[in-house]
């Protein structure tokens, strides 16, 4: 653990733990969430040393890190060695967001041939160096904790840091979003409006953003443990959704999560 427990009153504080932030292929959304934590992190500047590596691949890394936060997926050839280097230097490695843990929205390209995708997106596709698929960090190295979300929730990140600074291995809730929806007194959009909400099969963490605004959940936080996607999909069908619509719902931010991948396939 990175710090002495609060209870250790007669031992000296540990030296300031070192926190590294690394960016791989992503949209910066998660780093924005992190920057959004600036006020809170400034307040603890004397407890943690924070080193940012915006373009991780551009400079040689030095030293080691007590905690590393890795944003983005591995999607360019040089990033494979890079993620291994970060891992080797880190005691506790946390991936931030859907990209780093499941390939993210850019993993949609995994469903097609990468050359076709390049040709559509870039004017000179031959100048682009990329891996044929967008891969999560855990395909290459051991990950200690995956913070879900597209993007991650600032409060969840701060909670994880606070838990570590208190001397505990961090944990996050991963139960179905519905539990928090109800705790917050939000009216169920599926039951009351017939909106196709993925909340029942989605991991909590977002703070119930969409249902609070009367909108169905799109599963930015990925599957909850043991998601019964088949039963929910059947319900969607009963309220009038087409197979294609159902397939697209499961092919969003967590399209590479095995449970969603499989459910999407059933509606092809």
């Amino acid at each position: 653990m990175i710090a002495q427990p609060l209870t250790v009153l007669n031992t000296r504080r540990a030296p300031r733990p070192r926190l590294g932030v690394f960016k791989f292929a992503s949209c910066d959304g998660c780093q924005l969430s992190l920057l959004d934590c600036e006020d809170e992190l400034l307040a603890v500047a004397d407890r943690v040393e924070i080193a940012f590596f915006r373009e991780a691949t551009r400079r040689p890394l030095e030293g080691s890190f007590d905690v590393s936060l890795v944003e983005g997926s591995v999607s360019a050839p040089e990033q494979e060695a890079e993620i291994r280097d970060v891992r080797a230097r880190s005691r506790f490695l946390i991936t931030l967001g859907a990209c780093a843990s499941h390939g993210g929205i850019q993993a949609l390209r995994n469903f097609s041939r990468v050359d076709d995708a390049l040709a559509i997106v870039y004017a000179t596709p031959e100048t682009i160096s990329t891996l044929p698929s967008s891969r999560p960090a855990s395909d290459y190295v051991h990950v200690d904790l995956e913070l879900p979300g597209c993007p991650i929730n600032k409060r969840q990140l701060l909670s994880v840091l606070a838990q570590m600074l208190s001397g505990g291995k961090p944990r996050i809730d991963q139960h179905a979003l519905c539990l928090d929806c109800k705790r917050q007194n939000v009216v169920c959009v599926l039951v009351a409006h017939g909106s196709p909400c993925l909340g029942p099969v989605t991991s909590t963490g977002c703070g119930v953003l969409c249902p609070s605004y009367d909108r169905p959940c799109f599963s930015c936080f990925g599957p909850a443990p043991q998601p019964n996607t088949a039963s929910l999909a059947e319900r969607f069908q009963a309220i009038g959704l087409s197979a294609d619509h159902i397939r697209r719902l499961f092919q969003m931010f967590y399209n590479q999560a095995p449970e969603f991948l499989e459910e999407a396939r059933r509606h092809e």
């Binding site: 427990p5 209870t7 009153l9 001397g167 505990g168 291995k169």
Partner: protein, 277 residues
């Protein structure tokens, strides 16, 4: 107004004694003398041990009532809270609340033979029962302790065995995996039953350990003629409040924290065998 049953009380860590790899015994003492004086527990009960900033876990009281100053808890480091406890040094302050739950039938055992059957860390909650039985040795018939550990180095309280045996406890130990120096039995604990000259009608069986081990023990005891109401098991479930309010520890109609953890087997037999209940 009612006081908050969730409220922990500061206790100072006095000692940390390594027992086996990954297990240590923590000696603690309430900071407030009044609370220490008011604390009375019975063998088999447990405390909630609270580490500020990390969380709270249920831990059996491993010391016997009146045994020395403070309370002792033998803890295996398995997860978030227990691993964090591992890094504490004497002088640290943590929280305690208790004692909670039911106790071993030490009083009811007067005049009878007692077989204590422990698996692994299950010896921790049975230790105070051993001490209490031996403290009034003349009140009881034969006393056996059957103890199973994974390997010889996993045995708890080894230094005390000689004292216990001298005081009149018949100790039989078995391990799953022997090493070169091991001269004792190898195999699962319930099999040790077969070595005892039991008089089932005067025997009480008290067992604590992994649930599969306890189930095998119960069957062994009942097969040997011990009444289901004379077999006591100590059960474990997730616990948060320890006072029957949070709902986590339910097994059918029982709140394990309040009605247990120690039950006559007869009372829980119906539900204990049901997978995943």
């Amino acid at each position: 107004m009612t006081s908050d049953p969730y409220c922990p009380h500061p206790a100072v860590l006095r000692s940390v004694e390594p027992e086996t790899p990954g297990v240590a015994t923590f000696g603690m003492e309430f900071q407030e003398p009044a609370r220490a004086a008011a604390f009375h527990h019975r063998p088999g009960q447990f405390n909630m041990v609270y580490l500020p900033g990390v969380g709270e876990v249920a831990i059996s009281i491993a010391s016997a009532p009146g045994e020395g100053v403070g309370l002792r808890h033998t803890i295996r480091f398995v997860g978030r809270v227990t691993n964090a406890l591992q890094s504490l040094r004497p002088g640290a302050v943590l929280g305690l609340r208790g004692p909670y739950g039911s106790a071993w039938p030490v009083e009811e055992a007067r005049g009878r033979d007692v077989v204590l059957v422990a698996g692994g860390l299950g010896l921790a909650p049975l230790r105070p029962a051993v001490k209490a039985l031996l403290a009034e040795r003349a009140q009881y018939g034969r006393l056996w302790l059957l103890y199973g550990a994974r390997q010889p180095s996993d045995r708890l309280y080894v230094a005390e065995y000689a004292d216990w045996e001298r005081a009149g406890l018949e100790l039989l130990v078995t391990v799953d995996r022997a090493d070169a120096s091991w001269r004792g039995a190898v195999g699962i604990v319930p099999l040790l039953f077969r070595k005892l000259a039991l008089d089932p009608s005067r025997t009480l069986v008290l067992t604590c350990g992994p649930e599969v081990m306890m189930r095998a023990t119960v069957h062994e005891a009942i097969d040997r003629g011990v009444a289901a109401s004379d077999v006591y098991v100590s059960l474990e479930r997730n616990m948060q409040c320890a006072v029957g309010l949070c709902g986590h520890c339910q097994l059918g109609p029982e709140f394990l924290c309040m009605n247990g953890p120690v039950f006559p087997y007869e009372r829980v037999a119906r539900f204990l065998g049901k997978e995943h209940f």
